[in-house]
């Protein structure tokens, strides 16, 4: 398969105040593939994701240097709107965080913001995205339930559906399965494998097995540096860097 670059990160550094969380990373992210990002705690994985949809901007202390090209256009260019960017680059957070409203309203929140009002269209979006997130069968009879009443695993799948409902081009997932049981985890992984046909997916995970299961390519982050990136099979079998090898075999530290 030919490798089309969706996002090109060039020499990206992220600072929080005086603390540097990312140290000049460069990598190309392929369209319609799943990029897994692994690395120990506080290696900068979350900061990297949040740099891709400019959520870091919310922290007035934060600052990004370098370039992030989405389809060739720099998302940090002053003419670019962060709000428009976030509609193209959706994000699912580590902790499921449905908004305090019904399941239905959570899913259509994004489309409504974009001006979709037609009830039939919204209904169709709800069914399609909840089905993609493997949640439809569990909630189809109670779409008016307050989303906070769902179980943690269901909430996380709802957050995935809600992100898909915006019809983004890129989906960022930050440890989406960290609080979930193996069955919910399997469901989300299944969903991702199907969804990559339509979206570019970046999956941060603390679970190296998960990366080896679902990611097409894997990047290993350490202390704000990109140590190594390559095809998942290569990273897990013949890593080039000793540190990668130590990490994926669990001999780290």
């Amino acid at each position: 398969m030919e490798r089309k670059v969706k996002i090109s990160v060039q020499n990206l550094s992220v600072f929080f105040g005086r603390h540097q969380a990312l140290r000049g990373l460069s990598l190309d992210i392929a369209a319609n593939r799943i990029l897994g990002i692994i690395g120990p705690a506080s290696s900068g994985k979350t900061s990297f994701l949040r740099a891709l949809n400019r959520m870091n901007d919310l922290d007035p202390e934060s600052r990004a240097e370098g370039r992030v090209l989405l389809d060739g256009a720099d998302i940090y260019h002053p003419s670019q709107s962060a709000v428009q960017l976030r509609k193209r680059v959706g994000m699912v957070f580590a902790l499921p965080m449905p908004l305090p409203m019904s399941i239905y309203d959570n899913v259509v929140y994004g489309p409504r913001l974009s001006g979709v009002r037609d009830r039939a269209t919204l209904d169709e979006i709800v069914e399609r995205t909840l089905t993609s997130a493997f949640l439809w069968d569990e909630v189809k009879d109670r779409l008016n339930l307050l989303a906070l009443r769902l179980s943690g695993g269901q909430q996380q799948r709802l957050c995935l559906a809600r992100t898909l409902a915006m019809d983004p081009e890129v989906v960022l997932l930050d440890e989406p399965c960290s609080g979930l049981d193996p069955i919910s985890t399997a469901r989300i992984e299944d969903a991702l494998s199907v969804l990559k046909a339509r979206y570019t997916i970046i999956l941060v995970t603390n679970n190296t097995k998960q990366a080896s299961r679902v990611a097409d390519e894997t990047a290993f982050f350490l202390m704000g540096d990109l140590v190594e990136m390559g095809e998942t099979s290569q990273i897990f079998t013949v890593p080039k860097d000793q540190r990668t090898s130590d990490y994926v075999t669990g001999r780290f530290g």
């Binding site: 949809n53 959520m55 919310l58 007035p60 709000v83 428009q84 976030r86 509609k87 959706g90 994000m91 957070f93 902790l95 965080m97 449905p98 908004l99 305090p100 409203m101 929140y109 994004g110 913001l113 974009s114 307050l146 957050c159 809600r162 992100t163 915006m166």
Partner: protein
């Protein structure tokens, strides 16, 4: 309540700790009884005040009849006419007007402080606003008489000392209450809601009014109801700016007298039935404020529940 530290149920404690424990225990007990006594006397004195007002006022209401007291529109104690209807209307309008001014301004201020001002600035401004609540009401009234009333007289006509002046002054006076409680309510909304909405492509303003205000709604409502309670009960500033004529107002520029002003103005010389009538007015106020406070509590509880 709590287990004392050296009950015989814990024999394994080192001896040294036990001797230290006796002194601590005595001090704890002492503190407990002192606090208990203070809390008790505070509650009891409030209860006594309430009972006293009821004892003086309720027999009067029974004698005159609740309907004649609340809905007769003539108040002339010298000839035995005790209808407080004009004052009820005045209190309602002044309070409503104050809320129309104070609630939107206060909530807008709270949104501004929490969403569009850096945290560090808010940490300075919020205590300053709370200090405003401590300005004696006579000063608000003074400003009303010297600045606001002439302004109204010159630009809108009428006597100046009017329902409108009262509503504006009270609207300003309740701002600290509305702002401070609303800010707390908004700050209590999990930050994840804001991030969640923004990540879905909402603008800052969209996430504020569609998510944050919704989540903080009960706290904001409570702040407005509490402010209403303050406005109904405020006396000094109101007496100074509303003109105090006992009549049903026909426009916002009319001079009016509120329930609180009525009590304060006439208590100096009231005797007998007149005196009882003032206490009965107090009972009415008391009930209104109680209802408002209960509503506020209910609103806050609902937030904790959902």
């Amino acid at each position: 309540m709590q287990d004392t530290p050296n009950t015989p149920a814990q024999p394994k404690r080192p001896v040294r700790r036990v001797t230290g424990g006796v002194a601590t225990w005595c001090r704890d007990q002492l503190a407990r009884y002192v606090f208990l006594a203070v809390a008790f006397s505070a509650t009891v004195s409030l209860l006594l005040i309430a009972l006293f007002i009821l004892k003086e006022g309720v027999p009067f209401i029974i004698k005159i009849g609740l309907k004649d007291f609340l809905f007769a529109s003539e108040w002339d104690p010298s000839v035995g006419k005790f209808g407080i209807y004009p004052m009820i209307i005045a209190s309602l309008w002044v309070t409503l007007g104050a809320m129309l001014i104070g609630a939107p301004l206060g909530v807008a201020g709270a949104i501004f402080l929490t969403q569009f001002v850096p945290r560090s600035v808010m940490r300075i401004i919020k205590p300053m606003i709370e200090l405003l609540a401590g300005i004696p009401s006579v000063l608000y009234g003074f400003m009303g008489v010297m600045v606001l009333a002439p302004f109204i007289r010159n630009h809108f006509g009428g006597p100046g000392l009017s329902l409108l002046a009262g509503a504006i002054i009270l609207g300003i006076m309740v701002l600290p209450t509305v702002i401070s409680i609303s800010v707390d309510a908004i700050n209590a909304v999990p930050r994840t809601y804001l991030e969640g909405a923004l990540a879905l492509g909402a603008t800052r303003w969209q996430s504020v009014h569609m998510v944050i205000l919704k989540a903080a709604r009960s706290g904001i409502i409570a702040s407005v109801i509490l402010a209403m309670g303050r406005a109904v009960g405020e006396t000094m500033a109101v007496i100074m700016v509303v003109g105090n004529a006992v009549k049903i107002p026909h426009s916002a520029l009319d001079s009016v007298r509120t329930l609180t002003a009525n009590i304060a103005l006439e208590m100096g010389y009231a005797t007998g039935l007149h005196r009882q009538a003032l206490f009965a007015t107090g009972v009415v106020l008391f009930v209104v404020v109680m209802i408002l406070n209960s509503l506020a509590m209910a609103a806050m509880k609902r937030k904790a529940g959902s």
